[in-house]
């Protein structure tokens, strides 16, 4: 039997998804199901003066209209903690419908519950909210004057200021500097499945069917919000139609669904509309970054000063860590990074695929390109001259780093050395052609709690591995089937992985590209523990051909245990269990992740290359090719891993050229629909070439999985912007780069 790990296995849930047989959280059919629809604030700031529910309450099918005056108060809002820590993970420390204050447009003000969705939607239109609007701040421009330096950001994990060496002095002495201000538009996640929760009470027990990256995150958060014992809540997540971070934290809608269900004594489904997705589940904040690079004439970086300014909510100091990876990419003795925030009338921003890495590395990597041009150096050579042999902030060694190989292979695939390096000289009809490159990196962060899985084998030799994780479309259920099959030593067809249910052994949320690494650790440990248990049983069993053998000399393949050097001697798991009259056997696997203080730098690295065609007369930019080479550690499934990387790269392209949520002068997102918030369509997708460099990493987790979920997006926007410069000779410091910028 060849190893299952690494094979490009088709998705185990693929058929259910494409045939529609798989049920998403807003499709759970339950007897007596009622539907809740939210009424949201039109104004970004003010007070609710009157909620007139007269017409809504009398509309056909309406069961209840809930708002701050009649919604039962629950427990308390837990602090803002990333769901990777495995506990409560509220997206913001604010729960709506508790008083009349309006903090942001789109804030949930009322909820209509009715027999059908159409009836609830119609009645929601009949709720008349009268507000007194007060002055608001919703953009960087409006709030610049009141910016403050954050003490901590990102739920208190990252200091607002980091410094090393003496940046001011180093910049004074620098032989070359590059200094620019950059602007990135706000982004929204826009997974194809909008967030939804279906809530069912049976007595004091609550079941939530929730579209979430972490069933346990939903469980713990709702338990605190409603003051219900965690033991009385079960969260089921069969399928999730993408997330990109908007289902990483737990927002108010699961708890609201539960409150609505309690109010009408029926199961209730609360599904957000596409428009509501723009103001209910966080976003990537608008941001301004200011970066100064100092270098010597050979291109060695001597100083990096990187400041960020962005709006956050009234309740939380949140900024995505845009300075993070950018500060770890190159060796540089002097560094200063500062986050400044503006309290604004928005909700708390949140994780959005590559939170910080995408925007920060756009800035860093376009600045590096500019520096290379100033020095008349090949951009790739500049990166090599500044290659960080150790993690620059701590000085620790890297747990693994294949970046040099990524650069080399990427350059080969892109025929990097064959291009004419001069900007603005390569033409194809009306199109100017350009090539650009950028480094890529995404941190490997361990979960904050032990990860568990249970492996169980039956007397016929078939097996199931159970773990609570949810597959948000990444393919993790498929990869875990492969890990489980190899760990136990059974064929793939005999292994099933059961997941997406908080009643199963505990895992943290699948966030931060950590899902594959942490869940595979638990699954691997459970499966190998069961294997070892069965081997121990066989060698102790005098009726077994393996009786008396050294367990270390027993190997398992295809469900059969045998001696390593005498494969004829052995028996199957099924034979062993049947002889012992055991219906099944099982083992629990627990992985204790390394602490945050592990003395290693941990990162997935990559190199990105882009070829673009720019029609400067019409302001068009079309990406012709994207090449990405990454070092994600062990690859569990080549197909799903490549799909993850490709999705990331395409989103990076979209970040560069299409995506931006526009704040209107009325303080509301002005393009809150898929018609106006542009994401790429198939016709925009270029040729995408992906390769992985398999590096061995013994630090991060048992299988050495560094993760592929997000790194694909890091650096893509910079590679494209650099390619645009190479095509046209013009630098762009704002994302997205659109027609009006290119004209």
């Amino acid at each position: 039997m060849t190893a299952a790990i690494g094979r490009p296995l088709d998705r185990v849930d693929g058929r259910a998804k494409v045939t529609g047989a798989g049920r998403y959280s807003a499709e759970i059919a339950l007897p007596g199901l009622a539907h809740a629809v939210l009424v949201t604030s039109r104004v970004p700031s003010g007070r609710v003066e009157l909620i007139d529910t007269y017409d809504a309450e009398r509309a056909e099918g309406v069961l209840a209209v809930l708002h701050h005056l009649n919604l039962p108060k629950g427990g308390s809002v837990p602090p803002l903690l990333p769901s990777l820590f495995g506990g409560p993970a509220s997206g913001q420390t604010f729960f709506p419908m508790q008083d009349e204050v309006i903090h942001y447009a789109g804030q949930h003000l009322a909820m209509v519950v009715a027999e059908t969705l159409d009836q609830a939607e119609h009645a929601a239109r009949l709720v008349r909210v009268t507000c007194r609007e007060t002055a608001s701040v919703t953009t960087v421009e409006q709030g610049r004057d009141r910016a403050y330096e954050a003490e901590k950001i990102f739920a208190g994990f990252i200091p607002g200021r980091v410094a090393r060496g003496d940046v001011a002095a180093a910049l004074d002495r620098a032989q070359v500097t590059v200094e620019n201000t950059y602007h990135c538009a706000a982004n929204h996640h826009n997974p194809i499945e909008c967030s939804a929760t279906t809530a069912v009470w049976e007595g004091d027990r609550l079941t939530l069917y929730d579209a979430t990256q972490g069933p346990n995150a939903t469980l713990h958060t709702v338990a605190e919000l409603l003051n219900v014992m965690p033991s009385h809540i079960r969260v089921v997540t069969d399928h999730v139609g993408g997330s990109f971070g908007c289902k990483a934290m737990i927002w108010d809608h699961p708890a609201l669904a539960a409150l609505a269900a309690r109010a009408v004594h029926r199961p209730v489904r609360l599904a957000l509309s596409r428009e509501q997705m723009f103001s209910s589940v966080g976003h990537r904040e608008e941001q301004e970054q200011h970066l100064t690079l100092g270098a010597d004439r050979d291109g060695r970086l001597t100083a990096i000063r990187h400041h960020k300014l962005s709006p956050t909510s009234h309740f939380d100091d949140w900024a995505e860590p845009s300075l993070g990876v950018a500060s770890q990419m190159y060796a540089c003795p002097n560094y200063e990074g500062v986050y400044r925030l503006i309290k604004a009338n928005t909700m708390t921003p949140t994780f959005t695929r590559c939170p910080g890495e995408a925007s920060g590395m756009f800035v860093m990597e376009t600045a590096m390109d500019e520096l290379a041009a100033k020095l008349d150096l090949d951009p790739l050579e500049l990166r090599l001259r500044n290659y960080a042999e150790n993690e620059p902030m701590s000085g620790h060694p890297w747990s693994s780093k294949g970046l040099r190989d990524c650069y080399r292979r990427g350059a080969e695939l892109a025929r990097w050395s064959e291009r004419d390096p001069r900007p603005g000289v390569t033409r194809d009809g009306n199109w100017l052609l350009g090539w650009g490159m950028a480094s890529s990196g995404y941190p490997v962060t361990p979960p904050g709690n032990p990860q568990r899985a249970r492996a169980r084998i039956f007397a016929d030799g078939s097996a199931v591995v159970q773990s609570s994780f949810s597959d948000i479309g990444t393919g993790s259920a498929t990869a875990m089937t492969q890990v489980a099959a190899d760990g136990l030593g059974v064929p793939l067809e005999r292994m099933r992985v059961q997941y997406g249910d908080s009643d199963l052994p505990n895992t943290a949320a699948a966030v931060g590209s950590a899902g594959a690494g942490m869940v595979s650790a638990a699954v691997h440990i459970a499966a190998t523990a069961l294997r070892d248990q069965l081997i121990a049983q066989a060698v102790a069993d005098e009726h077994s051909p393996l009786h008396g053998a050294d367990p270390a000399q027993v190997v398992v393949s295809d469900g059969r245990m045998a001696l390593r050097d005498r494969p004829d001697t052995g028996e199957t798991y099924a034979e062993l269990l049947q002889r012992a009259m055991m219906a099944d056997a099982e083992a629990l696997g627990t992985w204790i992740p390394p602490g945050l203080d592990t003395p290693y730098g941990t990162m997935t690295f990559g190199a990105q290359f882009a070829q673009v065609a720019v029609d400067p007369e019409l302001g068009l930019c079309r990406v012709r090719q994207l090449i990405g080479v990454f070092d994600p550690g062990r690859v569990l499934n080549r197909k799903t891993a490549h799909s993850q990387l490709m999705g990331g790269m395409l989103w990076g392209m979209s970040h560069a050229l299409l995506e931006g949520t526009i704040m209107g002068p009325d303080g509301r997102w002005a393009n809150a629909s898929l018609g106006e918030y542009l994401v790429p369509v198939n016709a925009d997708a270029p040729d995408v070439v992906i390769e992985t460099i398999e590096t061995v990493d013994t630090v991060v987790n048992p299988l050495g999985v560094k993760g592929v979920g997000e790194v694909g997006m890091v650096g893509t926007a910079a590679a494209i912007a650099n390619a645009i410069w190479h095509a046209t000779g013009r630098r762009h410091h704002r994302l997205p780069i659109t027609v009006e910028d290119l004209l």
């Binding site: 039109r42 302001g619 016709a683």
Partner: protein
């Protein structure tokens, strides 16, 4: 969604009688605009009369070479009809560059003429909008208006007309055939779309219950050398920032015949008559093209977010004319 009633009719007379009799009713063709309008509460209809079984979906060549397109012919069927591809490539391209394959399979030509603007304030039932609720003001003026018009605007409305096909049809001098209880009449495409003026709620010279039965495209030799150039943020499934429908015949280096209409920049499909006037009989050079384009955009009234469209529209015109000049010279 707003509660509605629904019925299906199978002959034209009943369809017209049913809708004309009830001011809250409306025709339902492919539904790709209409259902959206109801879902977002931008239109008040309460009764939908499904006309998909009416026998008005043919594409026929007339003896004089005109092409008659039924009001219910689907966008894709028209785009791929050999006679359209052959004689009126500009129309075929305009259709194929619109919407998506799925939408084009559903959407009818009549519905396409009647589609509503994409202005997000129009589509937000609670925003101020003179088109949706006359007299309430215009949210887009002073609001987010990158996609809005620079030509044909008024202080009351600046919404861009969204149709691509209509731009080609206006360039081709098509006639829109309309039937009502009183009988049948035809309206020139250019007159079928009204400027907003101070009545932006009135978009067509139609009365309630008027049914588009056909669109007739008269023969035009120049149309064989024609194209539709659509500039937009993404490659597909997106409305135009600027577009040009153009047909051109160049003889001895001089423009013999030209048709030009613009999309994405005006409140109606914009026949570029000033540009055409300058081009006819003039040398087919970039310089002439630029002059014609500048003349057409001379009256543009940009908004803070869409000022780039004034330049973009001119470049789109120039590119379309240059491309056709080069093509004409080859063939």
């Amino acid at each position: 969604m707003r509660p509605v009633s629904y019925s299906r009719v199978s002959d034209v007379a009943t369809a017209i009688a049913t809708v004309a009799a009830d001011p809250t009713s409306a025709y339902l063709a492919g539904g790709t605009t209409k259902i959206d309008m109801l879902r977002i509460y931008a239109e008040p209809s309460q009764r939908l009369v499904d006309i998909n079984s009416l026998p008005i979906d043919h594409i026929e060549v007339q003896p004089d070479g005109a092409v008659r397109i039924g009001g219910l012919a689907r966008m894709n069927d028209v785009a791929l009809a050999p006679v359209v591809v052959d004689r009126f490539p500009v129309l075929s391209e305009a259709l194929l560059l619109g919407a998506s394959a799925q939408l084009r399979n559903m959407a009818s030509m009549g519905g396409n003429m009647m589609q509503r603007v994409r202005c997000s304030y129009f589509r937000d039932a609670e925003a101020r909008c003179n088109k949706r609720e006359p007299g309430t003001g215009c949210g887009a003026i002073g609001g987010v208006n990158r996609g809005h018009a620079v030509l044909g605007t008024s202080p009351h409305c600046i919404a861009t007309h969204p149709s691509d096909a209509a731009v080609a049809l206006v360039a081709l001098d098509a006639m829109i055939h309309v039937q009502n209880a009183a009988g049948h009449h035809a309206i020139a495409a250019d007159d079928f779309f009204l400027l907003p003026g101070d009545t932006p709620e009135r978009e067509h010279p139609l009365n309630h219950g008027d049914l588009i039965t056909a669109i007739e495209v008269p023969p035009l030799a120049a149309a064989r050398n024609s194209l539709y150039l659509k500039v937009r943020d993404r490659e597909s499934y997106e409305f135009a920032l600027a577009s040009a429908a153009c047909a051109l015949t160049v003889e001895d280096g001089t423009v013999a015949e030209v048709r030009l209409a613009l999309g994405g920049v005006a409140t109606k499909p914009w026949r570029a008559r000033a540009a055409e006037h300058l081009l006819r009989g003039a040398p087919a050079t970039r310089e002439t093209f630029a002059r014609a384009a500048a003349a057409e955009l001379a009256g543009a009234v940009p908004q803070p977010m869409n000022a780039f469209k004034v330049e973009l529209a001119q470049r789109t015109i120039i590119r379309a004319l240059e491309t056709l000049t080069a093509r004409g010279a080859v063939s």
